[in-house]
């Protein structure tokens, strides 16, 4: 009896069953992706290098993997082929979309820069610029106005023409903060409550 019924099953009925299974599979995959560890740094760096920071898909994926709501990436509207030297006269790049919802520049080059550099230096920090050697190579992950962590970004070539600044601690390797266009210098919380960072700075 059931065999006959099965043969009479319409394509629509059959697809309804398959799509029910598909819906469950997609929901389970979505959940799996949310709890998946971050991608390995090699593929992460390769992809970001090639696509440059303008591509948001992968960055969003990384952020989702880390369980954070938003990402701020180091990118400047100029995006020229030449390194952008920090100048006090740079156009205002401080107006960003709300950091909880979108992507915007970590650092703006403005008149405040030199003063903040000095403040950071007094605290034992070095604010790195993209044309530093070694370059900062980092993406900050920010939720609201709190920097949750950071990720390895790309090679120096990819960052050329963009303005991204991170602050290193006295050891010269530990990132202790970033330059935020909204809030100026933002320290990265140094405690156990930090969510897993998305990567480690390059050697």
């Amino acid at each position: 009896m059931n065999d006959e019924r099965r043969d009479e099953l319409t394509d629509e009925e059959l697809e309804a069953v398959i799509r029910g299974m598909v819906d469950r599979a997609v929901a389970a995959t979505d959940e799996h992706l949310r709890h998946r560890p971050p991608p390995d740094l090699v593929s992460q760096q390769r992809r970001l290098s090639r696509a440059r920071v303008r591509q948001r898909a992968v960055v969003y994926g990384f952020a989702a993997a880390a369980g954070v709501a938003a990402v701020v990436i180091g990118v400047n509207v100029a995006d020229t082929d030449e390194p952008t030297a920090p100048t006090a006269a740079s156009p205002s790049t401080t107006t960003t979309a709300p950091p909880t919802t979108t992507v915007g520049p970590i650092a703006s080059i403005n008149a405040q820069l030199e003063a903040d550099r000095a403040i950071a230096a007094e605290a034992g920090f070095v604010i790195g610029a993209i044309d530093d050697d070694p370059p900062p190579d980092l993406v900050a992950v920010i939720e609201g106005d709190v920097v949750l962590g950071y990720t390895l970004l790309v090679d120096q070539e990819t960052l050329v023409g963009q303005d991204a600044y991170v602050a290193y601690g006295p050891d010269g390797t530990t990132v202790v903060g970033v330059w935020s266009s909204d809030a100026g210098f933002l320290p990265i919380p140094q405690n156990d409550e930090l969510p897993p960072t998305l990567g480690e700075p390059a050697e």
């Binding site: 059959l14 995959t29 799996h32 992706l33």
Partner: protein
């Protein structure tokens, strides 16, 4: 106009500067949010390890952003992205196989891939009796709701071929014991 808008307009010079670019940017986000898990799940259902699938799908979306001016105009961008991801995954698996073959004397253990969620495994089992080509059209049809014409366009085949593969696949699936179990669970059969 905020800076994000300016940035995106800069990236996509052919988009309008009066607000259209931002709308399209948001369009990408919505599409990405919906389609990424679907793409990954679909590739897993076809047998791709989930880690490879994730990498391939991310790569495909990256290429979509690089070519967003063209991709956003595509009537079937899911199909395009799927094919890019599928080809990338195939290349990855082929490279892995070749490397293992060449270096087999030096590699003691096979590469470890992640398992997909059990729900995806269930779908894999359902599709197991089908051949690769049948499996692909069933997945495109039921994951992305593509018509036969859209599937044909995506995989570079004719509508007749797609139709034939679907019919053949559904004929096999109607005899599937796994499907039978689902039908009972769904209350179609008793």
């Amino acid at each position: 106009m905020n800076e994000l808008h300016t940035l995106w307009d800069h990236d996509l010079p052919s988009t309008s500067v009066d607000g259209g670019g931002l709308v399209e940017f948001e369009d990408f986000d919505a599409w990405y949010t919906r389609a990424r898990p679907e793409m990954v799940s679909a590739m897993c259902a076809l047998g791709t390890p989930i880690d490879v699938a994730v990498d391939a799908v991310d790569e495909a979306f990256t290429r979509a952003t690089e070519q967003w001016v063209q991709v956003q105009e595509m009537p079937n961008r899911d199909g395009w992205t799927y094919v890019v991801a599928r080809n990338f995954a195939r290349d990855t698996m082929r490279t892995e196989t070749n490397r293992r073959r060449i270096l087999r004397t030096h590699l003691s253990e096979p590469p470890v891939h992640e398992d997909p969620p059990p729900e995806v495994h269930e779908l894999r089992r359902l599709l197991e009796p089908l051949n690769d080509k049948q499996r692909e059209v069933v997945v495109l049809r039921n994951y992305f709701g593509m018509s036969e014409v859209e599937i044909a366009d995506a995989i570079g085949s004719s509508r007749g071929t797609v139709s034939s593969r679907l019919r053949g696949a559904y004929k096999i699936l109607r005899r599937s014991t796994l499907l039978m179990a689902s039908l009972i669970v769904w209350g179609v059969f008793t």
